[in-house]
Symmetry: C2
Subunit: 165 residues, 2 copies
DNA sequence: ATTGAAAATGAAATTCATTTTCAATTAGAA
DNA sequence: TTCTAATTGAAAATGAATTTCATTTTCAAT
């Protein structure tokens, strides 16, 4: 699936990277897992991206740095990263799980073009408030939410259409 | 997956049912498809439910009315119903596509318990406004959105935990 | 530095929902 | 009734997600 995007934030700095690694290592230690070369490479690769990556996409990137990294390891590492809050799943409903790194980022949401896959980030503090409010009302311990808007972007409205999502 | 739910609306009346059928038949005619016994049974079954059904769940229900209805037909009919607005997909992110019928219902959203699968409906007009607003801002022709809140319900907070989603 | 148990790895196999194929059947217009 | 296009549903295919398992690696205790 095509991955274009529009956003407005910088990639993580050297120190950000180090801090993320520390978070990851502490998490590994906490749950009794080991620090490995592969996990390191995968985290580094992940943090360097600015996209919403599928496991396969991250696998291809990580493999460029270390040709013997396997898909399965990337798959499992992504789960570990999600566990300790460094990655979070974004569901674009195209049948593929995607992740983005949460480092140094404001809470945001996505609007996705159903024609070309373009994703636009937007920021809306109201949504977070709503999560809290509704959770309180129905006595849920609300932990997260998903909010996506789907539509057709300006460019695609001008083009002959082709459905991707 | 367990499907409990909390909501506050009545099942469709006899007339509602008829109206939905008419919408469906008109849609079929419009796109040059035929009116069949199976499609009829599947629509009727679907409208009688109040749950968020997976294709397989609807298939099992429809089969009770007509033992020779196949999974594939239910699958395809659900797509047709979604096309003409009688069904809409709700993504609970548990790996299964679910549908609910849109007949006689206010626009609503779901909060889902990640432990037991309980879903609570809630109503929040702000979310619709947000869709419109963000779409305008980024020049998208916004057509739909998804909004779900995830958390742990009151009951599950008291029980020993078991992860389902 | 060595050892050994526990964890990690990754290729391959499996699972499972979804989607497609295709031969037989059916709807409905002429 | 006849004919053609659509429908059906069983089975096969697809494809992402997950598990298995033999081998390799990590790391804490020697």
């Amino acid at each position: 699936m095509l991955q274009r995007r529009i956003d407005d934030h910088a990639p993580p700095s050297r120190e950000d990277m180090r801090e993320a690694q520390e978070i990851f290592y502490k998490h590994l230690k906490r749950v009794g897992l080991k620090h490995t070369e592969q996990r390191d490479t995968i985290l580094r690769t992940f943090l360097e991206t600015r996209d919403h990556l599928s496991t396969d996409e991250l696998f291809r990137l990580a493999r460029k740095k270390d040709a013997k990294i396997g898909f399965t390891t990337v798959y499992r590492t992504l789960k570990l990263l999600a566990e300790c809050g460094l990655a979070s799943e974004v569901a674009f409903h195209d049948g593929v799980a995607r992740y983005e790194h949460q480092f140094n980022r404001r809470s945001h949401h996505h609007m996705v073009c159903t024609d070309c896959g373009l994703s636009v980030e937007f920021f809306s503090p109201e949504v977070g408030k709503l999560e809290e409010e509704i959770g309180r009302k129905y006595h849920f311990d609300a932990t997260r939410h998903t909010f996506q808007i789907y539509g057709v972007c300006e460019d695609c409205r001008k083009k002959p259409s082709r459905k991707l999502i």
